[in-house]
């Protein structure tokens, strides 16, 4: 019995839908002309969206974004393994060589130098009593040579041994001191730690 009822219900539903759906003939008979006319007029006017104001907003946004993008000397991409600590420091960052240190790798000026695991550089890549990180040292020496070459031709850009260290807040001091020692060996003697300005 129940099965029969179930089988019966769908057709009844179909009937309902069929009844509810508009019958085209009804509409045609009921004043076709005015409707068609109105429709055509609407399409003639084009009905285009006025984009001018939108364009204004977007252009201003674009200019603002481009400007903020270009003025910041320290660029870093915040990610899961690179979160800067917060500090009350007020000093503005300057354009220098930047070393990015995270638990998973080291970068010099956005060029990946090496990948590491758990913030430990393997012994095989360190020398001088375990303090000098060899791949980083080579990358930094290249950067120094590059800067010195530039300063030969442009006296304003003298090599000052400044280096910005952009480091994740959970990096242990052991890795950080190795990075600093390596930078010191590569003639970078003044460090700037990038932090997020608080308040």
């Amino acid at each position: 019995m129940a099965k029969q009822e179930e089988q019966q219900t769908p057709p009844s539903g179909d009937e309902l839908v069929g009844n509810a759906s508009p019958d085209p003939s009804l509409f045609v008979s009921d004043g076709t002309r005015p409707k068609a006319k109105r429709k055509r007029r609407a399409t003639d006017e084009g009905g285009g969206l006025n984009m001018n104001s939108l364009m204004d907003i977007m252009t201003i946004l674009l200019v603002f974004l481009l400007k903020s993008y270009s003025t910041n000397p320290v660029q870093f991409k915040s990610s899961e393994d690179l979160k800067l600590p917060t500090s009350t420091a007020q000093m503005m960052p300057t354009e220098t060589t930047a070393v990015t240190v995270t638990a998973n790798g080291i970068m010099v000026d956005d060029e990946p130098v090496m990948t590491i695991q758990n913030a430990v550089v393997p012994e095989s890549q360190r020398s001088s009593g375990g303090y000098l990180i060899d791949p980083l040292y080579q990358a930094l020496q290249l950067a120094v040579e590059h800067q010195k070459k530039i300063s030969k031709f442009n006296k304003k850009l003298e090599f000052q041994g400044l280096i910005t260290i952009i480091s994740d807040r959970e990096v242990p001091f052991s890795l950080l001191s190795q990075v600093m020692y390596t930078a010191g060996q590569a003639q970078f003697s003044k460090f700037k730690f990038a932090v997020i300005k608080a308040g």
């Binding site: 993008y69 600590p85 500090s87 020692y181 460090f191 932090v195």
Partner: protein, 209 residues
Amino acid sequence: MARRPSERRNFKEEDMELNLTPMMNLISILIPVLLLSSVFVEIAVLNVTAPAIGSAAAADKPPEKPDRPPLNLTVTITDQGYTVAASGAVLPGPGGEKGPTFPLKQSTVACQRYVGTWPPPRARNRELPKCERSEQSLQFWIYDNEALTKKLAEIKEAFPDENRIILAAEPAIQYEAITDAMDASREAKDPGGDKRALFEEVVLSPGLS
């Protein structure tokens, strides 16, 4: 442009509009790209001088000043707290000579800066529940930055010319604990809200291993 004869007579000057669609495409792609890539946080820097261990640059340049008998004010960061020492003498803490001058203290911390993690020292706080939301305030072990600032302000009053502080840390100490200590030793806030410079020249000494 050639027109059909019927068009020649009935031709109406249509409003010529610039086709903005390609421009819109460009802008609507550029804006999300720039929005995603730009970081809306203000970056500042902390100045730090090189560790004393032989940096090549030190040989190139003459030393900035002949060293006067220095105070050698040293703050050592360990997983137990801060130890303040100067010229060989160590400030004893509540735990006697052995313990840190300012041991870790338990305090309620606003989670705003630490969503998804713990405040430093994380090795100690790891057993406690993490910060989940920024509005939370939870109990954590923290470094006693206020006490350090207060003590350093006293030392600064006694040695107004001294501007250098040596920070040392255990190898396992996290970077954030070091920047926090730098903040605590750079300036003091008077009760009135004025800021007073303390020891601005930070020398980060290599590990204590």
